[in-house]
Every structure is written in C-alpha cells, then in structure tokens.
C-alpha cells in the first residue's frame, strides 16, 4: 500500500479525502461528494465552462492547457455523439499521483467526468487506466457500479432527464497511449499510434466525434473547483495557474511522497523543507522538475515558483509534477542513458525522427557510458536531439530530446570526463551493450 505523507505547508483540496475511506460511496457522500455534479446539473453548461475558465485550472497531464478553454472548443451542436475521456494512463517516469487518486478518491474522478460530460453535452465517458493498475481498475469499476446503483450514472442521472454513462477501460502496457490521440486509437481497439493534428480532439476525436480528454488529476480537481467556487480556487495558486498541484517527490529525497502544494510553491523550499532535503545529508546535484521528459535544473536554478509559467521561464517544464531529485553521487551520463532507454523502448515507431533518434541516442549514450565514446559524440548527441524536436506527430520525440539536450548542455564537463577510456566515476548499473 503506497504510503501517504503530510506536511504543514500542504493545502489539501484534491487530497482532502485521502485516507478517509472515500472509495466507499456513502462515505464519499458524507464527505460532501456528488454535490458539485448536482449543482452543475442545475446550472448548465455555460455556467460550468465559465467557472472552469475563471478558476484558471490548467491540465495536470503536463501540457498545462487551460481546462475551461479546452471544454469551450467542443461544438455545441454535433451530428456525431460527443465523448469525455479521462486519461489515467499515468506512465511518465517520476509520476504516481493519479495512482493515489484512484486508490483513495475514485468517486472524485467519476464526479469530475460527469461534470465534464454536462459541460460539453456528452452522454458517455471513458476512464482509461494503464493495465498495470489492475487493483485500481477494480476500485474504479466498483465505484462506477456503486454510482449506477445510486442513480448518479445512467439514463436519468440524479433523477433528471440527462443521461450519462461511464466505462472503465484497461490499457495493456504503453506509455505512448498517454498521448491523447494515441489513447483514442487504443480505445478504438488499435495500436496506440498518434494521429496528425489538426483536426484536434475537440472537433474530431474518439469514433470521429467531438471529444474532451483530460488528465485524471484535472478531472478529480473539477468537483472541488465547483464546490469551492472558481475565485476561491484560483486564489490558492499563482497568476494564471489556479489551485494546487500533486507534486511527487522521488529519487534522492529524504522524505519521498506525493504532496499537495499551491501552484507557484518554491522548488527549493519543496526539496529542502517539504521533502526534508537530500537523503543521507548529501549535496544536491540536479533536479528533474516535472517527470523524465522535462529538462534538468541545476541547484542554482531551483529558486523558482513551481507553476507552468515560472518553470517554463527557467528553461524547463512543470510537466506532470514528478520532481526527481539527484544527489552528488549520481552519474549524469548514466541517468541520461536510463532516461533515453525508456523513450527508445516506448517510441511507437510511427515517426522516423523519434524511432531512429531515440535508438541512436541510446546507442551513443551506451557506448559513451561504457568508455568507448569519442569527443565528437557529445556534439552528435546534441545534434541528433535537436533534430528530433518538433518533427513528430506527437510529443514523445520532444519528450526524449528535451531532457537529453538539458543533460548535454548543462553537464558537458561530466560527459567529457567519460572520454579517453576514463571509467565512470559513479556508475555500476547500466550494462555494456554491444553496439
């Protein structure tokens, strides 16, 4: 059972019901659940979208797109049915926040899905979880069945004339399916290969119908925004970055865990106060601020507020909120190799720059880390990564290139230290592959 953590600086909004048995529907209702969905049913779609816009809630999957704006793009009239898709394919290394939401508060996901459905005029929502989360899929399925039994889902939700159905869907192992169009392909029973955009999902999505797709944390936040009121929610965060975020502290941190902190919370403070500093009293070497695809930050770069805009200004991304902390005993070349190995494994192979780029980066870094690198390799790695950027259907190519560029640019000296047959001063793990 994943351990829950707590810190006085936390503002518990999304995590408010964690550890209180809220997976039970009666307990969820006792703790104020399903009142937001009822309110939204009374108020209507325009009011919901206005509230979401005013809350300045932005997508928690990584891109940070304003949720209210996304919903407003769905056409009011549509010949084809509209769909709500909840993305619970959580697979970005460093990220485990949705894991806790499904475990402790599954009904908040259902309630948020209902509200999204009401906002865009959809009758069917899908909650897609990665296949590895089988025990969480079972929790979600039970929660959905309970919501049907209460009449909160079905032909006449909350006794109204409005219909809304929910299906819980299992994946079967694929990081790429976390990309919105690939997820739709997977739901249509195909390989999870991304679609070219435009058209965007809001116009042509699942089964060709207008579709809203949101991260599970975003959807779980929605009922809280309605309950608190948009203005109160927005006030918790920083400008244009409403509310809180579930930050996952992992790696060489003294107190790892998922902490709910206001958007804009200082990263240095997050590491040294909330996370208790570096494990074993060691020194900080680097921070990956928002999941493995976000460019690395140096210790002198972490005095920043953790919101989409400020982390962007610092040259990285807030991403999925997975803060991975590296101490001074970490080999950056090895870390870069492990990161690129992941993207090489997960590239679906559809776009050549990503398929070939991730493969060659892995080969180069493997050779480099094994002590067979030449000085030219450092520039080649950078050149390769630069030429993957922006040249693929979906952001997986960028997700592989961005961190690689960060490592090479910020730790060039450490790459050079691996040259001339010098053994890696730190590493022992990554096996030497014959390249």
């Amino acid at each position: 059972m994943p351990r829950l953590v707590s810190h006085p600086d936390e503002v518990k909004i999304v995590t408010r019901r964690f550890g209180q048995g809220a997976a039970n529907i009666d307990r969820y209702i006792e703790l104020g659940g399903y009142t937001s969905a009822k309110k939204c049913l009374e108020q209507g779609p325009e009011w919901i979208i206005d509230e979401m816009k005013a809350s300045s809630l932005r997508g928690r999957g990584g891109a940070g797109f304003p949720t209210g704006l996304k919903w407003s793009f769905v056409p009011k009239q549509s010949a084809k049915p509209k769909y709500v898709l909840v993305n619970g394919d959580e697979s970005e290394p460093g990220t485990c926040k949705d894991h806790l939401i499904f475990l402790h508060d599954p009904h908040s996901v259902i309630e948020g899905t209902i509200i999204a459905g009401l906002a865009i005029g959809s009758k069917l929502g899908f909650i897609y979880l990665r296949g590895e989360y089988r025990y969480l899929i079972e929790i979600m399925e039970k929660a959905v069945a309970d919501a049907y039994a209460k009449g909160y889902l079905g032909k006449n939700i909350f006794g109204s004339d409005t219909e809304f159905q929910v299906i819980v869907q299992s994946g079967a192992g694929a990081y790429e399916v976390g990309e919105e169009s690939a997820l739709m392909e997977s739901l249509e029973g195909k390989r999870g290969v991304p679609r070219i955009k435009p058209p965007f999902p809001a116009v042509v999505g699942l089964y060709g119908g207008p579709t809203v797709i949101n991260n599970a944390e975003t959807i779980a936040t929605v009922p809280h925004v309605i309950e608190m009121g948009a203005a109160a929610y927005a006030a918790v965060g920083s400008p244009r970055n409403g509310g809180t975020r579930l930050f996952g502290l992992s790696g060489h941190i003294a107190n790892p865990g998922v902490y709910e902190l206001p958007m804009g919370y200082n990263l240095k403070k997050m590491i040294y106060e909330v996370g208790g500093g570096i494990r074993g009293g060691r020194k900080l070497k680097a921070v990956v601020p928002g999941g493995s695809s976000t460019p690395v930050l140096l210790p002198e770069e972490i005095d920043i507020g953790m919101d989409f805009d400020q982390v962007g200004k610092a040259g990285s991304m807030l991403g999925s909120g997975g803060v991975v902390v590296l101490d001074d005993q970490t080999c950056i070349v090895e870390f870069a190799l492990r990161t690129i190995s992941f993207y090489q494994h997960e590239s679906c192979g559809w776009c050549i720059p990503c398929r070939e780029g991730t493969d060659w980066l892995k080969k180069s870094l493997t050779r480099f880390h094994a002590g067979f690198g030449v000085a030219k390799d450092i520039d080649n790695i950078q050149y390769l990564a630069e030429n993957m950027m922006g040249r693929t259907f979906c952001p997986l190519g960028d997700a592989a290139a961005m961190p690689t560029l960060g490592f090479v640019k910020k730790f060039r000296k450490e790459f050079e230290d691996h040259l001339n047959g010098n053994p890696c001063p730190f590493a022992k793990h990554v096996e030497v592959a014959v390249v």
Binding site: P93, C96, R134, Q169, E188, V258
Partner: protein, 177 residues
C-alpha cells in the same frame, strides 16, 4: 469449442454490448484472456478475433504493440522489476540483480519449475515508493535487495498452499498453460 471460461465469456459479452464500436473491447479483452489462459496462444488469438469479428492478423497487429501482452507462457508469478529513474536512484538495479541471482534467470526468463518469471520493466507508477516491483498485479514497494528472499519465500508458500487446496478441489484455472 471455446478457451474462455464462462466468466470470461460473460465479461466479454457485457463489455462489447456497451461500446459504440465492438472492437473497443479488443485491448482489455486480450489482457483478460491472457490473465486466464497465461499467454496469447494462436488459439486465444483466433478466438478473440472471431468474437470481435476481425481477422487474426488484425488482432496480432494490435497485440504486438502492448508491452504487457505476451506470446509465450510466463511463470505462475511474473516478477516485474522497475529500474526506471526514480527506482534506479534508490537501488532498483540492486533489487533486479538480487532477483536474477536468487532465481538464476535473466530478463524474460522463466524458472525450470515454472513458478517464477522475471522482467525488467519501465515505470510502474510507484516512483514515490521506490524501488518498487509488481508480482503479477500486486505491488511491493520501498524495497531493497535484502527484501528479495522474503518476497520469493512468500510466493513459494502461496503456491504450496494453492497446490494443497487444489488437490482437494481442482481450481479449473491454469494461469500458465
């Protein structure tokens, strides 16, 4: 002739009835069928193709994309060790190496008795409780290399208890055909 148990067949029928498109059931059904039968044999693929109403080639094309789906039997307990960044930083590779030593098998290997198989896997979404592994669908987190023998012993006991009870009453389910 069907390979599906009545429960699996019923689950399939309930699932397909709900989707706007029948083949939306494909990805989860492949996984559920694998859970019951152990792996995606030619016969399983043929049956899923027929039930969905698509070609076997189409099923294979989709199935080969997903990393959890397999075409060979695994052990009764499939041990999946995450070595991705958050786990690596906290000793994921030491855990993985200890499993290799204890079991005498490597990546995607199966022990001679068919009890265990081992896999190095990508992020399993337990980064804050690293290093973590999954045995079939069960998570074990905050591990170290020293926790490995205890985990294996636990599953050996479980298997022995299962064998004892299935001698008395056949379970009718072979997870590793």
């Amino acid at each position: 002739m069907t390979l599906f148990s009545p429960q699996l067949a019923a689950r399939f029928d309930a699932l397909v009835a709900r989707y706007p498109l029948r083949r939306s059931a494909l990805v989860p059904m492949l996984l559920y069928a694998q859970d019951e039968i152990g792996y995606l044999s030619d016969a399983v693929i043929a049956e899923v193709a027929e039930r969905i109403g698509i070609t076997e080639l189409d099923v294979r094309n989709v199935a080969t994309y997903y990393s959890m789906l397999r075409f060979k039997p695994a052990g009764k307990y499939n041990i999946q060790v995450c070595t991705n960044i958050s786990c690596m930083l906290r000793g994921g590779y030491e855990v993985y190496e200890r499993f290799q030593d204890e079991l005498g098998i490597g990546h995607k290997g199966v022990t001679a008795d068919g009890l265990f198989s081992l896999e190095e896997v990508e992020c399993i979404g337990a980064c804050c409780w690293a290093p973590a592994i999954q045995v079939n669908y069960d998570f074990h987190d905050e591990l170290s290399a020293a926790s490995v023998p205890g985990i294996l012993a636990g599953y050996r006991d479980k298997a022995a208890a299962n064998d004892a009870s299935s001698n008395a009453k056949p379970e009718g389910k072979a997870p590793h055909a």
